[in-house]
Symmetry: C2
Subunit: 206 residues, 2 copies
């Protein structure tokens, strides 16, 4: 192929080189943790010097954050709902896509969910991704008229739902305690409860 980006040793313009380094890192981060070995492999595959990597990404941590952002962007793109489908179909499709993404990229997913730890920049990527997914779910539920409005309780419940999906999926990947279909059914049933629970609590005298 004549396309310059497929030949790592060619001189690339800065934007293309940066994208190439991220793409190489993203391939590697999908199957294993971020560490020095991964960085060394990216440098070797790109045929560049260590110094050049740090020209594009000021530090190891910065490169890690950018890789996490790229992985999170892929996940968000994968679960983007079909705008013409009804809310239950969107939910089902979104969950299937979510689990499918994680099955293909277990290390990237676990790195996003567990790896953030107390690192503020990584935590921001992680929280930002969760927020986007919460907005997606809340937006669909409100658009379908299942709750009166996007009240704070719905947002709180949706955030809890996302956390339960993350946690259960990590456990499922590790131990496979049930079938994939049972996992999807568990999440679907929990999601179906979000709007009724919130409506019920909102309607209760406090």
């Amino acid at each position: 192929m004549a396309n310059g980006t497929t030949n790592p040793r060619r001189r690339l313009d800065p934007g293309a080189r940066r994208d190439q380094l991220l793409a190489l890192g993203l391939d590697l981060i999908k199957t294993r943790p971020f560490d020095q070995l991964l960085i060394d492999e990216v440098i070797a595959a790109a045929g560049i010097s260590k110094g050049l990597l740090f020209h594009y990404f000021p530090s190891k941590r910065d490169f890690q954050v950018k890789l996490m952002e790229a992985a999170a962007g892929e996940l968000l793109a994968a679960i983007e709902p079909d705008p013409d489908a009804d809310v239950l179909t969107q939910l089902h499709q979104g969950l299937e896509a979510y689990i499918g993404y994680i099955e293909r990229n277990p290390a990237a997913y676990i790195a996003i969910v567990r790896g953030a730890g107390s690192d503020d920049a990584l935590l921001e990527v992680f929280e930002g991704t969760r927020d986007r997914i919460v907005e997606l779910i809340v937006g669909r539920i409100v658009a379908a008229g299942l709750v009166v409005d996007a009240n704070p309780l719905l947002r709180l419940a949706a955030r809890g739902f996302i956390a339960s999906v993350e946690e259960s999926t990590i456990l499922w990947l590790r131990e496979r305690p049930c079938s994939r279909e049972e996992l999807v059914q568990l999440f679907l049933r929990a999601a179906y409860q979000l709007a009724p629970m919130v409506n019920d609590i909102s309607a209760s005298p406090s």
Copy 2:
């Protein structure tokens, strides 16, 4: 008081000194993150040398792990259910105790839930604590006859539930988007669904 453990500068036997250092650290970790300043304060409050701290705890990380274990132990003791109560009362009491513990010790809680990150020893404390709470919930649900047995799907659902409680509580602490009672009601309703969801999926033809 004549009790030696109340006077930090007295010569203590090794077990008592270790307990004293953990108790001092546990007080501090409840309101702020684990860092060098916290270690320095523990050393100053105990009136010991830095070398002596590292005699009891081989490394900073080891001290941090032991503090997390102590904080997790406190949380587990706080939510221990009344054995004579019915399962719904146990659940309600457990959730109230859980939220109450977190309200009193926000930093310790956030450190347990978020701080583990990719540190294996801290992650083990965190996972171990979650496992204990899952066993507590699964045990109560099974004992109350709400499901046929402790099947893997119930464990998976209970783990997801715990994760959702953690996540929503952290968000609630930070933003207070609803009343405490609404938060409890949200968790109770989600917990009530655990057994029916699992029974329903187990009964479905797969």
